[in-house]
């Protein structure tokens, strides 16, 4: 049985916008138009897509916080609508990495409280909170109030909360959004740890480069549909994403620049370096440009 199984999820939001004093305009957003995906045990699945693609909506449906208009989803075989309570007990959730805790309470108190809500005894919750604060490298700030935490610390505390009841399935909605490179790296390391422990992880992001190393599989979501699915490598190939390597050779009066497009920058760089050194030349300047994901998304979304 798959850890997570979603079949043809559809969700439409109706909202009212005020125009003028009393008149309202009805707006309809078709957030999901038939999302199907599954996540296996011990797998990290990355759901990738631009803003508004339907990532958060999908995560909320899978975590029982939204009821789909049609389609269904099961977590470890439990239906997210009909068996919501059972599902809640076996999933961990990161929704907003920058908020979601009591600001006057310490990181430790916050974790213990949520542990209690997940049914842990006080002793067990405290033990687990200490353990997790160590894991996410926040033990030094355990007794500081949450309001004093930096963004990176908050994101790590969110992950700790998601694990407080040791859930086999974990949903992370853009856990690295707004984080500096060092903090993002520590989050990715945590995610790799979850995978090693055999948990099923669903991760969303709008940035493929950030998550490609931790994901076993990625799905590209656009306009509420999974448009493409495969290993990160496979996806990069199919998206036709090419890095641009620019190398300037030293000593050459004209400032000779080599420009190469490639899908595999590491191998390509090695090859070029060998060639340059073999010819007894030196590099004066070098630049590697990541391909633009937005363009690739647009290509995929518009078919």
């Amino acid at each position: 049985m798959n850890a997570v199984e979603a079949v043809e999820l559809r969700k439409r939001f109706i909202s009212y916008e005020r125009i003028g004093l009393i008149r309202r305009r009805k707006t309809i957003a078709n957030a999901l138009n038939g999302v199907s995906l599954n996540v296996k045990w011990g797998e990290v699945y990355g759901l990738l897509g631009p803003n508004g693609a339907g990532k958060t909506t999908t995560v909320k449906i899978l975590s029982t916080l939204l009821i789909p208009d049609s389609g269904f989803a099961r977590i470890n075989g439990f239906d997210v609508v009909k068996e919501a309570k059972k599902v809640r007990g076996i999933i961990g959730l990161v929704l907003y990495p920058d908020k979601g805790f009591y600001s006057r309470l310490s990181g430790f108190e916050n974790l213990v409280y949520f542990g209690r809500l997940y049914g842990l005894s006080r002793g067990k919750a405290e033990e687990r909170a200490r353990e997790l604060l160590r894991l996410v490298n926040l033990d030094w700030a355990a007794n500081r109030p949450y309001e004093e935490y930096s963004l990176g610390m908050r994101a790590r505390l969110s992950i700790a909360r998601a694990l407080i009841h040791d859930p086999p399935v974990v949903f992370l909605d853009e856990p690295t959004i707004g984080l500096d490179p060092v903090s993002s790296r520590s989050i990715r390391d945590l995610i790799k740890g979850l995978k090693r422990e055999g948990r099923a992880v669903l991760l969303t992001s709008h940035n493929l480069w950030e998550v490609e190393e931790v994901c076993d599989r990625v799905g590209i979501i656009g306009s509420g549909k999974v448009l493409m699915e495969g290993s990160p490598r496979d996806i990069k190939d199919r998206l036709g994403l090419r890095y641009v390597i620019e190398i300037e050779i030293e000593g050459d009066s004209k400032g000779k620049v080599i420009r190469v497009e490639t899908t595999d920058p590491v191998a390509e760089l090695k090859r070029i370096m060998n060639e340059i050194e073999g010819n007894g030349l030196r590099i004066s300047r070098m630049r590697v440009n990541e391909p633009s994901l937005e363009e690739a998304y647009i290509r995929v979304v518009s078919g």
Binding site: I14, F114, Y118
Partner: protein, 258 residues
Amino acid sequence: MRLRDWLSLFWAIMLNELRIIAREPGGLVILLLMPYLVAGGMAFMASFFTRVSGIDFIREFIGFEVVMVSMIMVQTGARFISEERSGGRLEHLIATPVSMYIILFATSIVMVIVNISAYLVASLPVIYGVFGVIGLLRLIPTLVIMFIGLMPLYGIGLALAGVVVRLRDVDALMNVVTALLSVLSGATYPIYILPRWVDAVVVALPMYQMYQTALGIVMGSGVTGLIYGLAASTVAYLALGVFTYGRVERGMLKGGVK
């Protein structure tokens, strides 16, 4: 889950709420001093026209106590929901296996206890000053009345919490509710000055029932049939609250927490 686990969970939620309140500076002091200021001010103004007796002061004082405590109680559920929502915690609370009813109820009990303690502390000196020791003894059953009276108010609050989930602006709604409550409490002025139908509404609301019953006990004049009204209110308004909130939570899961 066994009863012991339930109680332990309930206690954990209460403790968490207490901790948060305790770290909120200033709130309790205002709660304690407000009835003195208002009742004192009224008595001062009235003293230009007539001689104000201790009894009149107590009537005003308890009236304002009831109004204050009621307002806080009615707002508790709605404020809780809106604060949890803006803090990004509401969905995380819903995502736990614990029902929101339990969380709301436990946090409200904390507010009840805090409010009743404030009522007690604020009333002690006045009641002692006017009635002496016997007054203090009479204060004890009024605590029970307050405790019961706050339950239907919690029910009304729960229904309001439901409305709040759909609205963006909580404060605007709360201002309206506060104004309505202080008029409809009938606790700060004689209600016979109101039109008959408003009169009927006032009598059907828990504030007035609570006020009259508590006042009767403190004055030593005994309780009236309103105490049955209070019991009926408790059941009716709690049921209304639970029903409304349930519908709203379902609506929230359909439309998304905004």
